[in-house]
């Protein structure tokens, strides 16, 4: 009894239950619609694991959403709901694209410059939200929603402007090759590279057929940094205090408004980093005309919640989400079931994440009952 209670109290248990429920509901929906859930999930998993390049693509897909999730999770710990990660991502992509196209320095300077540009733009976009909340008390959700749309049209404005629009396309000029963050971009297509990789088939496949890049390593580093900031620093203590109780924090002498602005700056920078890494690390290395939101930021919300707002958890939740998004495409390709089943599944997982928050509470009750019986 005590052992069960102990297992149930762990947050990861609730998350696993939620994921199982998500698969179960998706199976029911598929079955009702007349598809075989078994073969659908078979297609999903082989679309994720069956070839090295699939796994590589999953990681590439997971990189930006892990970082936007980190942005959301960090702000959530300080009591702010960063629904604006979408807009922060978009302006980050625009800034990275512009700087990467206009500047052409050696990679040692160019790459940090482009990434910094994305982070600064994202931080600015997030900072506006923080500032308006701190100064005028305007709800962060309200300003975030507005800024998402402003970013959306701003991006299209840049793409369609004379200075950046590449003729006969729906996109801006790509960034210069010196800002690429793929793994050995020049070496891998050179004769020496081809010769070195010829013996190992999986390496060749991963290197040549996917944009394998440094992004995910940076995402992991960012997650560790945010965890350290929140739980191993004085500032983090302040931030969490603001998140837990505004008034108590204020009373304890913690400058609440200042911390709100700092939080939104960092959250925005993380979303901008996600965008900059996508521009430098993956084809086509440029922004295109948006007809609808690409959901890089909105997906970050779901990932952050699946991770229970834990910075380290975002890495794993990001991989799960990336896997479902990428592998989900094979469901439609192989068995013809609408690929939207993946959205239903992800939504259900998030829904059950909300529901299963009740599990640890039940565990406490179970534990108490066990102790009473022992007496």
């Amino acid at each position: 009894m005590e052992k069960t209670a102990k297992i149930l109290k762990k947050p990861i248990t609730s998350t696993i239950i939620a994921i199982v429920c998500g698969f179960a509901v998706a199976a029911i929906v598929l079955a009702v619609a007349g598809y075989n859930p078994g073969s659908a999930f078979g297609a999903l998993f082989s679309g994720i694991f069956s070839r090295p390049k699939y796994i590589s693509n999953v990681i590439i897909k997971a990189t930006p959403i892990t970082l936007t999730a980190l942005s959301v999770a960090f702000a959530y710990k300080v009591g702010l709901f960063n629904i604006g990660a979408e807009g922060q991502y978009i302006v980050g992509a625009v800034a990275a694209n512009i700087v990467g196209y206009l500047c052409n320095f050696p990679p040692v300077i160019e790459i940090p410059l482009v990434i910094l540009a994305g982070m600064v733009a994202g931080a600015l976009w997030g900072g506006i939200v923080g500032l308006l909340k701190a100064k005028f008390g305007i709800h962060e959700v309200l300003t975030s929603i507005m800024l998402n749309w402003i970013a959306f049209y701003f991006s299209n404005l840049v793409v369609n402007s004379a200075a950046f629009h590449q003729p006969n396309s729906t996109a801006a000029y790509p960034v210069n090759a010196s800002s690429y963050t793929m793994l050995l971009p020049n070496w891998k297509t050179s004769d020496a590279g081809m010769a070195a990789m010829s013996g190992t088939k999986w390496l060749r496949e991963v290197m040549l057929k996917t944009d394998v890049n440094f992004g995910f390593l940076i995402a992991i580093a960012a997650a560790v940094f945010i965890w350290m900031l929140l739980y191993r620093s004085r500032k983090g203590y302040e931030l969490r205090a603001v998140g837990l109780n505004h008034d108590a924090a204020e009373f304890a002498g913690i400058p609440v408004n200042k911390n709100i602005v700092i939080t939104m700056l960092i959250a925005g920078a993380l979303a901008g980093l996600a965008a900059a890494l996508a521009i430098t690390g993956t084809n086509p290395h440029r922004i295109s005309t948006l007809s609808a939101f690409e959901n890089n930021g909105f997906n970050g919300l779901s990932v952050a919640f699946i991770a229970g707002s834990s910075p380290i958890g975002c890495i794993f939740a990001g991989l799960l989400f990336g896997g479902l998004l990428y592998g989900g495409q094979s469901i439609q390709a192989n068995i013809g079931a609408p690929s939207e089943i993946i959205n239903i599944m992800i939504g259900t997982i998030v829904f059950f994440v909300a529901l299963t928050a009740v599990v640890p509470k039940l565990a406490v009750r179970l534990e108490k009952r066990g102790m009473r019986n022992a007496k």
Binding site: V29, A33, F81, I83, L132, F136, G137, I138, H139, V141, L142, T143, I145, M146, L147, N148, W149, I150, Y153, F154, N156, L157, N160, S291, A292, F293, F298, L301, S302, F305, P338, E340, I341, I342, N343, I344, I346, G347, T348, V350, F351, V353, A354, L355, A357, V358
Partner: protein, 306 residues
């Protein structure tokens, strides 16, 4: 001149009607203490069901009503999570925003042989002056019936919230559920009802889009209106009349951005499209300022816990 003004007014109301339904849904739910971030998802479900039922039955009104029903049913999920399971309402609302569009597109592909668009409905919801008008001004003022309905729902909600005992109960449940509980008000039942109504209204809002503004369901029929409605709830300080006015402002700014003499000017269309959102922020800074949610908004009620 008169033509231009009437066009602006007509478009303002046309664009704002779906938003108003969604925003009023948000108001009623949040007034009872349940944060509803899932309006977008509920509106998408309503938009699809409205268009699909409208197409298969051939009657737009049937589509409209069933869309409300579907929105309400879908909102029950949120109620179960928020009220029964005392779950984090932010998370469950976001979940509905994923499930709603997913479900709508999934069903759309099943019903319309793989297409993500429905067939256009044979008849849209009627306009207040009936068919086409010869006079341009009259044509511009020939509102969709949903514009009038949205206004009536706002009036009704204002009346119920501020002039009836049910309204007092709803507001007390949102402000101080424990006190309401001691007076014999069933907190959970009140919240369930309000979330249900919220879903029905959001469903209507979606259908107002696909049965009146456009004539079919498309993947982008509802793209962000639910979030704009959510913004209008906060902008309007959680009151029906405030949310209504905020929606009109959004509608007006949107009408302005497609206004012919502006659309053909030197201003890039993207800048015009940004206008509503910039305008909102400016209005917020200058006139609205701090907005305070109902006190217990978003906090599950646990009996006996202080």
């Amino acid at each position: 001149m008169l033509n231009d003004i009437s066009l602006l007014i007509g478009n303002t109301f046309m664009y704002s009607a779906p938003l108003i339904f969604g925003a009023l849904g948000g108001v009623i739910s949040e007034r009872s203490g349940v944060v509803n971030l899932g309006i977008e998802g509920m509106m998408t479900v309503g938009a699809f069901v409205g268009a699909a039922v409208g197409f298969f039955s051939g009657n737009a009104w049937v589509g409209f009503l069933v869309a409300g029903l579907a929105g309400g049913l879908f909102a029950l999920l949120h109620a179960v999570a928020a009220v029964t399971f005392k779950a984090d309402q932010t998370i469950s609302g976001i979940a509905l925003n994923l499930i709603g569009p997913g479900l709508a597109l999934f069903l759309c592909r099943l019903c319309f042989s793989g297409a993500t668009m429905s067939q256009p409905v044979p008849h849209k919801l009627p306009k207040i002056l009936g068919g086409a008008q010869s006079n341009i001004v009259a044509q511009n003022f020939n509102f969709d019936i949903t514009v009038i309905l949205a206004f009536l729902v706002m009036m009704a909600m204002w009346f119920i919230l501020y002039r009836t005992k049910w309204g007092l109960r709803i507001r007390s449940v949102g402000e101080h559920p424990a006190a309401a509980d001691t007076l014999g008000i069933n907190v959970n039942r009140t919240r369930y009802t309000c979330v249900l109504v919220s879903g029905i209204l959001a469903g209507f809002g979606g259908a107002a889009m696909t049965l009146a503004v456009i004539q079919q369901f498309t993947p982008t029929a509802i793209s962000g209106q639910g979030f704009i409605a959510l913004a209008a709830v906060i902008f309007g300080k959680w009151t029906p009349q405030g949310a209504y006015a905020a929606c009109l402002l959004f509608g007006f700014a949107q009408a302005l951005s497609v206004f012919p003499s502006l659309a053909h000017s030197a201003i890039p269309s993207e800048v015009l499209a940004m206008l509503p959102y910039i305008l909102t922020i400016v209005v917020l800074i200058l006139f609205v300022g701090r907005s305070v949610a109902p006190k217990e908004d978003g906090i599950p009620y646990e009996k006996g816990v202080r």
